[in-house]
């Protein structure tokens, strides 16, 4: 076989996937990970679930609310919004990734550096920026009213369409990140061979996209889950969604039991979506890293229709980057606001950066280990996969209360009273997301590489360190970066377990928003975007030097 590639041949590939893997990892690793996962992630949720079923005896009274028909309409809104955002993000994110990785346009390097910037701005700030631009009294609508005085064709941002638009801007870069990570792992010879007989478009459709399916679906799932639990943006856009009801049970009625009960359909819905995705991926080979490979080249120059595609990508990036950053910059002036922000928020910025960085590191290591066990332990694979899916769509508020119930005890004050509790909160909240990312990456690695290395060295640790981790670098970097961004922007769970005397950046931003300090909010957002952009640049430089699969 001239390419050394097994995935393209269904028979060889199926053989490759069904190899009876010898258990090479230490025997303690699996039970240790399951127990740790149960304590950190599942126990807080289990406590909340048990509490929802127990009120002076076993009862289902909290679940009676689910029969209320009012929730059905809100659930439909939520599904519609989540579906719309996911679909739009998949189309935009995958196209962007393909153009950036495979089409050689003039602005490729620049676009490749800035495309993730919208991800660094909290969705709530995106919503405020766009209400400023497209609200009913905005310049756009005033112009439309002046042009068409008789029949005013208003742009109505306060609608389900508006929510979909804003959340797509905020979340589409997640799909792009996931798919780019997949592209970086692909063996370039697969596409080059396809180019001998087909057009770049056909290569993308018939070779690249099928092999990247785990990454695309992973990105879509993350976007779908983040959307369905988001209520801040729909709230600002005056659209009632199901997640708002969960929040109201907490904030207006202090009813954690009913809030937990109302969370179950969300968890069930997400769980169902994940199971469907897994079914779609079953029995299909995705192994593309078999040892002998070549870094991919660009498939085509940006001419003809590709130039149009580049133009559209530039237009979208302009909308999603220039508009929010421009509005924030305009609102943050004069310049002394930046000095004020740096003077008053340095502690919060440093604390958030260190905390999110460490949490992302732990998330990366934990999800890598979990996915390794998931892929390599034949008997436990399905069980581990399902276990990791359970906490996917748990609202941060439910998790936060569960963490208090579990960890606020006299003998755990060393943990609950320190910032470690925040690290645990982030770990419990976001590990399903990074597990999905790592799972998509680990699927691409042929187990035969490890088996061969194990035969040569007889040491599992050496095999992991010298074979597996280098091959997983794109996934590791992505899970670190996305974990960092998710931790950095999280609000609900940290607020409920924040140690006294500490504060994170999102809490600071929301506090500033309350008393109308728009200039300070804008300046702080820009400072944060700049800091993370520089940090991401440094990370990318490290990746460029050490991270690429050679």
């Amino acid at each position: 076989m001239p390419w050394g590639v097994t995935s393209f041949d269904p028979i060889v590939s199926a053989m490759s996937c069904s190899v009876n893997s010898m258990r090479t990892y230490p025997p303690f690793l699996l039970p240790f990970c399951i127990v740790l996962f149960a304590i950190v992630v599942l126990l807080p949720l289990g406590l909340m679930l048990a509490g929802s079923l127990w009120f002076q005896g076993l009862t289902l009274s909290s679940y009676a609310a689910l029969a209320n028909p009012r929730y059905l309409k809100m659930a439909l809104n939520s599904v519609l919004i989540a579906g719309g955002v996911t679909l739009a993000s998949l189309v935009i994110g995958t196209s962007q990734a393909f153009l950036l990785e495979r089409i050689d346009g003039r602005w490729r390097r620049f676009f490749g550096v800035v495309y993730f910037l919208p991800l660094l701005i909290p969705p709530y700030i995106h919503a405020i920026v766009w209400t400023f631009c497209l609200g009913s009294t905005s310049a756009v609508n005033r112009c439309l009213a002046a042009l068409f005085p008789d029949c005013v064709p208003r742009v109505n941002i306060y609608s389900i369409g508006g929510v979909i638009y804003i959340l797509t801007i905020a979340y589409a870069p997640i799909v792009t990140l996931c798919v780019i990570s997949g592209f970086k792992s692909l063996d370039g010879r697969l596409e080059e061979a396809g180019l001998l007989t087909s057009t770049p478009w056909a290569v993308m459709r018939k070779i690249s996209l099928p092999l990247l399916r785990p990454h695309i679906l992973c990105g879509g799932l993350i976007v779908g889950v983040l959307t369905i639990v988001n209520f801040e943006v729909p709230d600002l856009m005056r659209t009632r969604v199901y997640a708002t009801e969960i929040f109201i049970q907490f904030s207006a009625f202090y009813d954690a039991r009913k809030a937990t009960a109302l969370s179950l359909p969300l968890i069930g819905l997400t769980f169902g979506a994940l199971v469907i995705v897994q079914q779609m991926m079953q029995k299909k080979p995705y192994v593309v890293i078999t040892g002998d490979r070549r870094v991919a080249r660009r498939l085509a120059p940006a001419s003809g229709p590709w130039r149009l595609a580049y133009f559209l990508m530039g237009f979208w990036l302009g909308l999603s980057i220039l508009v929010p950053l421009g509005v924030l910059l305009a609102k943050s002036l004069p310049w002394q606001n930046f000095r004020t922000v740096l003077r008053t928020s340095t502690d919060e910025i440093l604390f958030s950066l260190i905390l999110s960085g460490l949490s992302a590191l732990v998330l990366m290591a934990a999800s890598c280990t979990w996915c390794y066990l998931m892929e390599r332990s034949r008997r436990w694979s399905r069980f581990l996969d399902l276990l990791a899916l359970l906490p996917f769509a748990v609202p941060g508020t439910v998790l936060g209360i569960g963490l208090i119930l579990l960890w606020n005890r006299s003998w755990t004050q060393w943990l609950y009273g320190s910032s470690l509790i925040l690290l645990i909160a982030y770990l419990a909240h976001f590990i399903p997301f990074t597990i999905r990312i790592m799972a998509a990456n680990i699927k691409q690695i042929d187990i035969k590489l490890e088996e061969a290395a194990y035969l040569a060295s007889s040491s599992w640790f050496t095999t992991v360190r010298k074979i597996l981790l280098p091959l997983l670098r794109p996934g590791l970097f992505l899970s670190f970066f996305l974990g960092f961004v998710l931790c950095f922007g999280d609000l609900a769970a940290p607020l409920l377990v924040m140690p006294p005397g500490r504060e994170t950046v999102p809490i600071k931003i929301y506090n500033l928003l309350h008393y109308g300090a728009d200039q300070m909010v804008a300046a702080l957002c820009l400072v944060i975007v700049l800091i993370i952009f520089i940090a991401a640049g440094m990370l990318y430089t490290v990746y460029d030097r050490y991270g690429k699969i050679k």
Partner: protein, 337 residues
């Protein structure tokens, strides 16, 4: 070198997370839902004057988070806080009803009118805000303003009024107060009237202020601090105290309470004494929050109305606390349709 640097940095960062924020023999933990901009300088001042380390947890805007009340409820068996400083009153009463507060009659509160204090000492009010109407000065002249909030159910206000989500924060407190003062029938008729008159529900009081300032709506329900901030920022808005010839304007005091079985009860009481002192009322009156002092003797900026010049709604705050759940349920059903 690189590896050593990495592991060394990691060790320092982990140490940074595990070490408590500050070691101090004398410390007090306060949970506060008062805006950080106004509460932080006051807590810093207390720390500077006494040497007691003040560890604060700040809430964020009510419409965006479940907030500290849920945290206090969840921490009931092992409280972490000594003091709860709430920017309104209803949630403090909810904590009292759940048995989370300890009684404390602060000597600093002796000259605060009894209506703003719990008779059993579980909470004490200070530095109030008022529920007012914010209006756009480009769209409405002072002569056009409604005398009463009940006028907003009239046809001339159809589709021109904004209201924050009525289950949260001071909005819920406002309707709870109407239940306690007017009774369920009149209050529910009023709320139905608002709904029928196409009142627009937005995310919170600050959003009401913003949509009125932008001219999207002519008038809206909000708090004095929100309007003050907008006026200071040069927005085209004005503030109107409704019902001065009727049931009166609702005053919502800040409240402070001692947490039952908190870790530092002695320091908690001292902080409460400080927060209830005239100095703090004066500072809050002079701040952008522009809280109305509950003591006549406390100096306040001339733009701020004196308590004695206002027709204040005669509400029994403990009764308000009892009515708020019913009010919330009714509003939940009415405005979710």
């Amino acid at each position: 070198m690189g590896k050593h640097f990495f592991w060394g940095s990691l060790f320092v960062f982990v140490l940074f997370l595990t070490v408590p924020h500050a070691w101090a023999a004398r410390q007090v933990v306060v949970y506060t839902s008062a805006d950080q901009l106004f509460s932080e300088p006051i807590l810093d001042r207390y720390q500077a004057e006494t040497g007691v380390i003040v560890k604060a947890v700040y809430d964020v805007e009510a419409a965006k988070t479940v907030g500290l009340v849920n945290r206090l409820i969840a921490e009931k068996n092992h409280p972490q806080a000594d003091v709860f400083w709430n920017s309104e009153v209803a949630r403090t009463i909810a904590l009292k009803q759940r048995g989370l507060l300890a009684p404390y009659f602060s000597p600093s509160a002796a000259d605060i009118p009894p209506i703003f204090k719990d008779s059993q000492g579980f909470w004490t009010g200070f530095a109030a805000r008022a529920r007012v109407l914010v209006y756009n000065v480009d769209l409405l002249a002072p002569a056009d303003l409604p005398v009463s909030i009940f006028d907003l159910t009239q046809p001339q206000w159809r589709g021109r009024v904004a209201l924050g989500y009525p289950l949260l924060g001071t909005i819920a407190t406002h309707f709870g107060a109407l239940y306690a003062t007017l009774g369920p029938l009149r209050t529910e008729t009023f709320l139905k009237g608002l709904k029928a008159n196409q009142v627009t529900i937005v995310a919170g009081n600050s959003v009401v202020r913003d949509v009125v300032a932008d001219g999207e709506y002519a008038i809206g329900f909000t708090d004095t601090d929100d309007v003050h901030v907008a006026i200071q920022n040069g927005k085209p808005v004005g503030m109107h105290f409704p019902d001065q010839s009727g049931i009166g304007t609702l005053l919502i005091p800040n409240t402070v309470a001692l947490i039952k079985n908190g870790p530092h009860p002695g320091e908690g009481r001292k902080l409460i004494d400080f927060l209830l002192s005239p100095v703090v009322e004066q500072a809050l009156a002079a701040s952008a929050s522009a809280n109305i002092p509950l003591r006549e003797a406390v100096p306040a900026p001339p733009a701020l109305p004196k308590l004695s010049t206002l027709n204040v709604m005669p509400v029994d705050y403990n009764a308000l606390g009892s009515h708020i759940l019913r009010s919330d349920r009714f509003c939940h059903e009415l405005f979710s349709q």
